[in-house]
Amino acid sequence: MLVILAVFAVASLVLYPLTRSIGRPAFAVAALIPAAAFVYTIAQAPTVLAGGSVREQYLWIAELGMQVSTRLDVLAWVMSLVVTGVGALVLLYCMRYFDADEEGLPRFASILLAFAGSMYGLVIADDVYLLFVFWEATTVFSYLLIGHYTGRRASRGAALQALLVTTFGGLAMLVGFVLLAVTAGTTQLSALVANPPEGAIVIVAIMLVLLGAVSKSALFPFHFWLPAAMAAPTPVSAYLHAAAMVKAGVYLIARLAPGYADIPGWREVLVLFGVITMLIGAGRALRQYDLKLLLAFGTVSQLGFLTVVVGAGSRDAALAGLALLIAHALYKSTLFLVVGIIDHRAGTRDLRKLSGLGRDAPALAVIAIVAAASMAGLPPLIGFVAKEAVFDSLLAMAGEGSTVGWVALAGVAVGSILTVAYTARLIWGAFSRKPGVESAPPLHRQRVDFLIAPAVLSAAGLVLGLLPNVVDSWVAGYADSFPPAREPYHLALWHGLTPALGLSVLVLVLGAGALLVSGWVNRSGWHVPEALGSNEMYWRILRGVDRGAARVTVTTQRGSLPFYLSVILIALLAFVGVPLVLNRTWPDTFTFMSHPVEGAVAILVIIAALAATTAQKRFQAVVLVGVSGYGMAALFALLGAPDLALTQVLVETVTLIAFVLVLRRLPARLGERHGSVHRLARAGIGVAVGLLMGTIALAALAARVDAPISDEMPRLAYEGGHGQNVVNVMLVDLRGWDTMGELSVVIAAATGVASLIFVSGRRDYLPRLSRRDAQERVRETLRRVADPNDATERGSWLLAGRTLAARNRSIMLEVVVRLVFHAIILLSIFLLLAGHNAPGGGFAGGLVAGLALVSRYLAGGRHELGAAAPLDAGKLLGAGLLFAAGTAAVPLLFGADALTSTWFELDLGWFGEIVFVTSTLFDSGVYLVVVGLTLDVLRSLGAEVDRHQEDAEQTEVRS
């Protein structure tokens, strides 16, 4: 069976290119696959009908108990025959139904075949989850098939509707299955039916599963999707929406009934909803003028009928139900196919416009009439046999005094009367000669093989009707899984003069009457109240969801950063504040400050921070933030961390310079504040968060449970890291991995700055100096300067100083920079090398070198920068990272852990001894990266922004 499923899957993929190349005949090829499955199923008859079952099983996900397991028992066998048999015939029918130039035919063919495969899988699955897989697969394929005419709006809407409605039920069902499987401890369907679990949760689970079945089988209140789904091509209606997919719900009910029919609510729900559906469907069928819609509502009605019978949950009702299911599949698909042919031939399905078709197409009429007779329940057809059985079983139920039985009986009887009426309306409407209506000439020449599929299906209904004991032998195996209540019933054409026969006769007579009455009712203009048409309900819910979604989204998604920040901070206050209030761990002692200067610095920092929030000008704000930063540096220094203080000062300085470079191009004043959160509220949130953080710090430190690991650090740094500066050893060795990460952060930041400033390079098309030209120009300048014969450049302190406009030059600055530049660079290298044992290190060193470059740039402009550092910032950054990450990686080659350091003592003779720790290499990487960053920032925020400004000025001059 799994092989067949695999063949279905592969074939539906292959069918796409096949249909593309050979066109419609591909359908005949496709039909072979369900036909083969049909034959295979027939071949299993001896085993299955003897009461055995054919199983295949593979484990899929053991942890969830999911299995790919199939089981062919009587019920699955019957369903398989229906699904594959009708499937093969419908595929064959498609070959003639579609025009050769039909749009999207390859897609249609492969989806239809894939659907047939999933439907087959659905009925043979023996694992609830596998069943659900196929269940949803049929939903998706149905979505795609209903929407086949993608250009038609009605098709698309109907497809979406069917998808949502059936998936809604499907998900409910999934939840039900999960509850069931978890309660029972198995996902095997047959085991769940054989040993049903018990308890309240099981009732809920089963109701959820039934919800899925009810929505799939288009029962009230979900019945509206099925008529809308008629927007699909007719073969789809015949197969999915009459014979196969909509039967899935009925199948599932039938599958579960032996185990669960006796749980409270089962019969009540199914019989009630079944009866309502049967009546609504039949009532509306009587009012349709479109033959296809008439059949669609008829199908809704019949699905209700099937649900009542299958859900009734007695041995005889089960027998009747399965027989009825076979009968329905045969006659309903026949009739749909016939309507398709009529549509094809006459160009309309409106029964008011059709006339005289019975005489023009007698064969078609015979086929249709046989099927219709079966639907109406006339002997000697299978429909009659089944209906007899239904009446008999329901009479027995009612006879036991069961209210549900009476409701079922009455509902089914009235429904059957209406069924007779709409069947007659169908045949009359399709084939009769109507006064005043022209009988239209056929649009297409009909080929005889177009009739094969409906003829076979129709004939099957007749043959099976004549051989009721054969059908009985098929379905009895399923019926016998129920406890026998009385002498088992058997399907037959003649049982004698039974009450059931009387009921059948009565139904036929009243049905004829009902047709007359309905004609009169239609003319009077009365109709079934729209409230029962839950289509309106669907749209109302959909609109409600859309509206609710829009409202929620507008409320939360303000598009305002202050709002988002406020929400986050308020959440923080609420979530953290509550447990903090309940906290009982507080410090016993509290040192306000360890040195009075600390207090002064703290006050300074606070004032600067407050002032920064109210600053009106950008520069002012930047400087005030800087003050806070320098204050932090002072605190570090006071607490005995000269390294941190040094680094912090340098960082603040570089940051200030970067800001100043940027601020040149921005308006001096800060923009209007247009926050969506009130100023006071923002201040309140800020203060509250600040207090919260302070309080948590207090509480956390009070709870210190153990000595901190940092106590060990100085010893480790000296013994293991061979350095006296514990901060540096931590940075380059103990926690060098962090530093390496932060280096990549620095690099990313450098690329970010370049990315934002050099944005024009990727977007706009302004002619500009290319990089090479710029370098060339700098080189040219240098050559001229270096040329002793060129007097104009003599006496320049800085090489490129001449390129600056006179008003921008400061000879004083040039002189100073010229004098100190190399000294500063030397200092930076000293800091780098000394860092391991004394304050300094690669980071501080790099920053100092960067500042040296900054001074060159400030004094001499961008050409001077090019001269001072004729290096690519990217290469510097890359080299730095290579050093750092390389130092981390190389020890791996020697079998040591990453970043493991070692040291060499070198005797340099006159110069003395030097101890070289390999982590200095790492620190050199840090140094290079920091220099690279500074260079990149100067190139971007300095030089490039200069160029922007010059461009802007030039444009201004020109215009």
């Binding site: 949502l164 986050i568 153990d706 690991i709 990460g741 690329t751 944005v759 290469k875």
Partner: protein
């Protein structure tokens, strides 16, 4: 074999250095970048095998024994996420090479795209292997700063605006994270995850909850849970398609990963599980309602992203091994499928000149390949079986039913409803953008679009251009990977299950870092409630 652990970070970083040095040679850069991520993929696959057979790999950088040095740990969870991330990063990289995202780097002082992308990758990988809370922070910083660069790539006004929202919110979350580290260090005197776990047991419960919540808020912003997620749809969708794809697929999951470590290792007691479940439920609902209200595909996908984070958080919040396994599987699924969908959306944008369903039409006819590449992951995200989204959801439902609390049952209902709404939002896109004929697009008036929120148009519509083959190939590969998650669901779920068992109870992790028997010793000395899994 421990030597493999640091390589997943070192290889991308060294390659980033290479990409910087060879900044003017784009072909070479591409080669280096693809090679690096390919190498990480191989490395992570090898480690996956090793940790699955021999238990976690733990090493201490620089030979400094834990807790003094920085511990790097790869257990099953880390290995799995490393591998999936490598796959996704590689797929997105190929897509962006095809798109020519790095074009125009020649003028800048440093080359931008490839080094930054590699740095981002290194950050993600580092976060997954960090066995040290501060190093985890560093990992986050690496990926965040790189992401700041990528999200503003091209520097259009809209991207800068979105970038500011993103950067400021991310900075706030980093600040909170850093503050939490300080507080945790204050209370426990250590930043080594395993040691924190041990010492946290001794911290008084009331303070422990304060620290726990604080850390969760910081991670909650990164993972995008309600009500900390409003920033996400306003920032992700404006970035270039591959950037959005990798952000949506990976970055939020790093936050979820951090939440998992928080819940299983740092604070393994179930004290906050109920609260976390409530948050997860709100995330699910509010997120999906946002998706339903969107007209723009990329924005809509950003909302589904938030919503589905709720599924993962819920799995974690169940506090059972089954829930953890389900969450892990769901993370893997969601990384792949969300990335794939964003790549498909990128193809749609390229082909149709827009990602707004009010402007798109007739794609099924004009671009059938894109249609398939959108439809399959769409079903997957919508939880349609047999795709991995279905398996993940089923696993979560199963775990909830086993847990059996009232909230768990509520989740099953909410989870199913969210799944339906996801499908609704996606199928609407399909109906309008793919099925509707392009002639119908003008003046289209429909009930299902009446209440959609129109988003600002992202960039001006462009001419329909030919799509470079590499973009399609990359997207197709990602779709194939997403389908492979279904085909290989058996072994994959089994692995996720073992990973889930692994982290139920911090014992395994602690022993792998601090030496065998450490956790048992601690359990004996402290009256511990939580059991450690084998």
């Amino acid at each position: 074999m421990n030597a493999l652990v640091p390589l997943v970070v070192l290889v991308p970083l060294l390659s980033a250095a290479g990409a910087l040095v060879f900044g003017r040679r784009p072909r070479l850069q591409q080669l280096i970048t693809v090679g690096a991520l390919g190498a990480v993929l191989v490395l992570s696959a090898v480690m996956l095998g090793i940790v699955d057979n021999d238990g976690p790999l733990a090493m201490s950088v620089g030979g400094w024994t834990a807790p003094f040095g920085i511990a790097l740990v790869v257990d099953r969870l880390s290995a799995l996420l490393l591998m999936v991330s490598a796959i996704v990063l590689l797929g997105v990289l190929l897509f962006s090479v095809g798109q020519g995202l790095a074009d125009g780097d020649e003028e800048t002082p440093v080359s931008i795209y490839y080094p930054t992308y590699l740095v981002l990758s290194a950050g993600v990988f580092n976060a997954f292997i960090a066995g040290d809370l501060f190093n985890l922070y560093v990992g986050f910083e690496i990926l965040l700063v790189a992401s700041y660069v990528l999200i503003t790539l091209g520097g259009t006004e809209q991207r800068i605006r979105a970038g500011i929202t993103y950067i400021v919110v991310s900075l706030l979350s980093s600040l909170l994270f850093l503050a939490s580290i300080a507080m945790i260090y204050g209370a426990t005197g250590t930043v080594n995850l395993a040691q924190i776990s041990l010492r946290m047991q001794e911290v008084p419960e009331d303070l422990r909850i304060v620290l726990h919540v604080m850390l969760l808020v910081a991670f909650g912003i990164k993972a995008a849970v309600f009500p900390l997620a409003f920033w996400l749809p306003d920032s992700y969708p404006t970035a270039p398609a591959p950037v959005t794809a990798v952000f949506a697929g990976l970055l939020t999951k790093v936050g979820v990963y951090a939440i998992i470590r928080t819940e299983t290792l740092l604070f393994p007691l179930p004290e906050l599980n109920t609260a976390l479940m409530v948050v997860a439920l709100f995330t699910l609902v509010v997120g999906i309602l946002g998706a339903v209200a969107q007209v723009d595909i990329k924005r809509m996908l950003s909302f589904t992203l938030i919503s589905h984070i709720g599924y993962m958080v819920l799995g974690v919040a169940l506090g059972t091994a089954a829930g953890m396994s389900a969450a892990i599987f769901y993370i893997v699924h969601h990384i792949v499928v969300q990335t794939t969908l964003f790549l498909s959306a990128g193809l749609i944008e390229r082909h149709g000149g827009s990602t707004s369903i009010n402007r798109l039409g007739g794609l099924l006819k004009s671009a059938p390949v894109i249609a398939v590449l959108f439809f399959v992951p769409m079903l997957n995200l919508g939880g349609i079986p047999p795709f991995s989204g279905f398996i993940g959801k089923l696993a979560l439902f199963d775990a909830s039913a086993r847990e059996g609390s009232a909230l768990a049952y509520v989740f099953m209902g909410v989870g199913a409803a969210v799944s339906l709404l996801t499908l609704y939002a996606l199928a609407r896109v399909w109906n309008l953008a793919f099925w509707r004929r392009s002639e119908e697009v003008e003046d289209y008036d429909s009930t299902i679009t009446a209440l959609l929120r129109s988003a600002p148009e992202m960039g001006s519509p462009r001419e329909q251009r030919r799509i470079p083959r590499l973009m399609t190939v990359a997207t197709t590969s990602m779709v194939a990977v997403s389908v492979a998650l279904t085909v290989l669901a058996g072994p994959l779920y089994a692995f996720a299950d073992r990973a889930g068992q692994n982290i139920t109870g911090p014992g395994t992790y602690i022993d792998s870092v601090l030496g065998p028997g450490t956790s048992a010793e601690a359990d004996a000395s402290v009256d511990s409630v939580n059991g450690s899994a084998p």
